[in-house]
Point group: C2
Chain length 314, copies 2
């Protein structure tokens, strides 16, 4: 299935893999790009050297397009930007803010920037930098979140811009992908579903925690600090709630989060921050990336065929 987005990115299926820090490393990224989607390295916790190694690992394993996600608030952001430029990474997605003139800077080197936004206002502001696609992310997603849900955000961003909108947040299967396309999206970005794959190299306990999760297993912590994060409820999130509900200062709350995603990725799913989306409850099995992509595309098509029948056009 070809559309504006697959042509822009040179991919087979309009599926991007979320560039999750510490989680989206070369094995997962390579597998997604090889399966016809766009694998994206999560530069999050990496310094320049680590990021370069990861990029080279991906380049050595696939000739397909791939991306790097840059968290604009990362302390190593300057180094990361330099490496991305030197390595001429095909696609960069940006989170945690407004990439501004970085879009033009990257474009001059042939690097496509796709910003992640959580509001219509930021989507509109970014248009003036000549972006060619945008990721609109609902608050059901994992990690850092906004406040508008995917169901409400996507049609409003679609109405506000004339470039392809990629929906993120709450998409775990082909039904979710079809729903987002109904809302006007031309692609989806999927994170949590890709964590539960054989290729993703997080600790097995992280994957197991997601498989065990139900619809109400996630919580958003850090609302009072202005940096809300969605992860699985556990001992750590209960500590966060105690601090937040008892008027702890921002610094104290933020200190509790330091190193906790890394801890979870290494297997501490009780004291670590098991970031994942609300869609965790929908995920029942660990599969290969190729199977996940094939299943999503197949269910996407069967869902649309089903809708057709429903309105008497089947």
């Amino acid at each position: 299935m070809e559309n504006r987005l697959t042509r822009l990115l040179g991919i087979t299926y309009p599926i991007l893999q979320g560039g999750m820090a510490w989680v989206a490393t070369a094995p997962l990224v390579t597998a997604v790009s090889e399966a016809g989607g766009l694998g994206i390295i999560g530069a999050g916790g990496m310094d320049g050297k680590q990021l370069r190694e990861e990029i080279r690992l991906v380049k050595s394993a696939t000739t397909k397009p791939f991306g790097v996600n840059l968290m604009l608030l990362s302390p190593a952001i300057e180094e990361q930007i330099r490496v991305v430029k030197e390595e001429k990474v095909p696609v960069v997605t940006t989170g945690a803010g407004n990439p501004g003139s970085l879009v033009e800077e990257f474009a001059s080197l042939g690097i496509l920037t796709i910003p992640v936004v959580a509001s219509v206002a930021l989507a509109k502001r970014l248009l003036r930098h000549g972006i060619q696609a945008i990721i609109a992310e609902g608050m059901e997603s994992g990690g850092h979140v906004g406040e508008v849900t995917t169901m409400c955000l996507i049609p409003q961003v679609v109405d506000a811009v004339d470039i392809p909108v990629i929906a993120a947040g709450g998409i775990g299967d082909g039904r979710g992908m079809a729903a987002c396309f109904a809302l006007g999206a031309e692609g989806v970005q999927i994170g949590t579903r890709f964590i539960c794959t054989t290729e993703c190299d997080v600790h097995p306990a992280y994957k197991e925690a997601i498989l065990k999760a139900g619809d109400r297993s996630t919580v958003v912590t850090g609302v009072t600090t202005g940096h809300p994060v969605r992860c699985l409820k556990n001992r750590l999130t209960r500590k966060f709630e105690e601090l937040e509900f008892h008027g702890a200062c921002k610094e104290e709350i933020e200190a509790l989060g330091v190193g906790k995603l890394r801890a979870a990725v290494c297997g501490d799913v009780e004291e670590g921050s098991v970031m994942c989306g609300q869609v965790a409850g929908l995920i029942q099995e660990i599969k290969s990336v190729r199977e996940v992509v094939a299943e999503i595309m197949s269910e996407f098509k069967s869902t649309i065929s089903g809708l057709k029948t429903l309105v008497g056009e089947g």
Copy 2:
């Protein structure tokens, strides 16, 4: 378009109008039922006498099916239940809890109960009472909300039950309706879009406030009290935030909310509680109920036709 839900309810289109307290009164309810959907009276703030009057107004204006929404925590709930039984209301929707054996009690009188749930667990528990349909409501909806978004909740409830699921929360147009059907819903419940109709008799300032709203104009207050409510950001919600972030007790916070929805419905959109969903940003115009229903159905069908083309079946 006929399906299990339209047959069960005897309606033309699988569209229910949310039974909003103080807002969903006879004129709106009648108009929605006459337009082919299911109008639902919001019994919320009414005593038995008022509810009976409202029901009789609807009965005198339409022969089509209609419903009553009962808030199970309402102080007048016993009276309201008696009136609903005596008036043999065709459909009852229930919010704010588990209707339990009320389902069987109503069924023996030919009254169909459709509970509103915000979680998979409650959906499953209600199956044992013989419910024939269920409304799964995402946290983007207006008024009292849960925590799971429509995009994540609908497929999980659909997978857990074998009765028709009606999606609520975040649906303002035919794209949203098509998205919910892609997720497996067989009907939608729409609240906010129906407030902005000529027939809805809330104060014009309430409707204007919704038309002016953007994607980030709503907020959920009362999270710390265990009774979160979504409404438009205004002076009242800022007062709520001050109380909640400064450790006020539950009673103090709840006292601030008393009578505030009624105040907003009467036109005080700054000190009143302007309950509405996050979808408010999508609503641009006041139209008649008939136009709204026709537009939603027409866009629902065109959206599905568009999806078809996309996957090369057009």
